[in-house]
Symmetry: C2
Subunit: 205 residues, 2 copies
DNA sequence: GCATTAACTGGCCGACCGGTCAATTGCTGT
DNA sequence: ACAGCAATTGACCGGTCGGCCAGTTAATGC
C-alpha cells in the first residue's frame, strides 16, 4: 500500500544485534524481553526468532559479536614477537586498560556473562592469561622481572585491576579523592611496575 | 486437622530471607521468581508480600541484611586507632581478603547489586574507601609509604583486587598455573607492598 | 472470655513472557 | 515469467509473572 518494503536481511540482523546489545548491556539477560528488543530494532518478535532461533540464541550471538574482536586483538597482541620485559608488560597493561576504557559496553556485557556463569568466556580468558603468563615467565628467566612471584598471578593482578576499575567506574568515579582514568592508571603502574622489579637487595629470598 | 500450626513471624521472616538470599546470590534479582522463594522457604507467596511488601522490598531487605554486618565490621576496622603504616595497610588488606573468602554469597550479591546500579552500596563503599585513604595519607605524611601516589587510588587498588579475585574465582581457579587463594594473596602483597615502599633513590621525583 | 490485631492461606487477576505457526511478500536464479 | 525460497508479518498459544484480596486462624491485650 504505502511503503516499498525493501528487504536487507544483513542490515536487519545487524539492527537486532545492536538493539539487543544495548539492552543486554544495560539490564542483563534475564531482565530484557524479546518484545523489548523487537520494538527497539523495529522488527517483529517472530523475526528475531527466525534469525537467531530465540532469546538464548540472540544472547549468544550478541556475546560472540562483542567478544570476538576483543579476543582476536588481545591474542595478536600477546603472540606478537617482542622481547619480554617490563616495557612489554607495561604496554600490554596500557593497551588492555585503554581497550576497556573505549568499550564500556563490552565490559558490562562481560560482567553479566561472568555472573551467569558463561564458560566459553572463561575458557578463552584462560588462554589469554596463559599467553601473558608465558611472556612474564620469559622476562623472569632473563632477570628482567622478579622471579619470586607466580607469572599467572602477575597477569591476573593487572587484568583484575583494569576490569574492576571499569566495572565499578560509575560508582566510584565521583568519590572524593578519586582521580581520572589516566591518573589511576599512572598510580597503579607506578606501584605495580616498581613492585615487580628484580630485587637487587635479596635476589633469592 | 493434622498440625499444631504454631506461629513464629521472626523465624518466618528469617526463613524467607535465607531462601531469598541463596536464590538471589545464585541467579540475580531478575531471574528469581517470588514463587520460587516461597516454595524454598515453605511459605506462601502472599506471606512474602505481607512481610516484605513485594519482590523489590524483599530484595532490599536481603541486601541490607547481607551488607549491614560487612559495613559495620569494616568501619570499626578502619576507625580503630592504630598508627598507620605498611603493617596496618597489609593487615587491613588481609582481613578484607579473608572476609570475602569466607562470605562468597555476599561477594556475589554485591556484584549483582552493583550491576543493577544500586546506589546505597556505592555510597557506603565510598565512605569506607575514604576512611582507608585517610589512613594511607597519614602514613604517607610520616614517610612510611611513598607519597607520590593518590591515597584513594591505593585503597581502590587493594579493594578492586580482592573483589575481582573472588568475583571471578570460579572461572579462573582451575586455570593452569593459577595458585590458591593464599598464594595469590602472598604474591599480590609482595608486589604492592614493596611497590608502595618510600622511594629512597629518588625521594621526590 | 472476648475483641483486636497480625500471621497466614488459597484463589484469582491482568499483564507479560518466549515460542509457534500459517500466511504473505519480496528477492533470485533460471 | 515463474518457481522456489528466505524474509517478514500478525495472531495466537500455554505458561508464568508479581500482586491483590477476601477469608481463616493463631497470638495478644484487657
Amino acid at each position: 500500500m504505502n511503503d516499498t518494503a525493501i528487504r536487507d536481511p544483513e542490515l536487519t540482523r545487524a539492527r537486532i544485534l545492536e538493539s539487543a546489545f544495548e539492552l543486554f548491556v544495560d539490564k542483563g539477560f534475564a531482565a530484557v524481553s524479546v518484545r523489548e528488543i523487537a520494538e527497539r530494532s523495529e522488527v517483529t518478535k517472530s523475526l528475531i526468532h527466525h534469525h537467531f532461533g530465540g532469546k538464548e540464541g540472540l544472547w549468544e550471538a550478541v556475546k560472540e559479536q562483542a567478544f570476538a574482536r576483543y579476543y582476536q586483538g588481545q591474542k595478536e597482541e600477546l603472540t606478537r614477537a617482542e622481547r619480554p620485559g617490563p616495557e612489554l608488560l607495561m604496554n600490554g597493561v596500557v593497551r588492555y586498560f585503554e581497550f576497556l576504557r573505549d568499550n564500556p559496553g563490552v565490559v558490562r556485557l562481560f560482567a553479566w556473562a561472568h555472573m551467569e556463569g558463561d564458560s566459553s568466556c572463561s575458557e578463552r580468558d584462560g588462554q589469554l592469561v596463559g599467553l601473558g603468563a608465558e611472556r612474564v615467565r620469559q622476562a623472569q628467566e632473563k632477570g628482567l622481572l622478579r622471579a619470586d612471584v607466580n607469572p599467572t598471578h602477575v597477569v591476573t593482578i593487572f587484568v583484575s585491576l583494569c576490569t574492576q576499575w571499569f566495572e565499578a567506574r560509575e560508582h566510584h568515579i565521583d568519590w572524593p579523592g578519586m582521580g581520572t582514568d589516566d591518573e589511576f592508571l599512572d598510580d597503579f603502574l607506578k606501584v605495580f611496575m616498581e613492585g615487580l622489579l628484580p630485587r637487587p637487595d635479596q635476589p633469592k629470598a
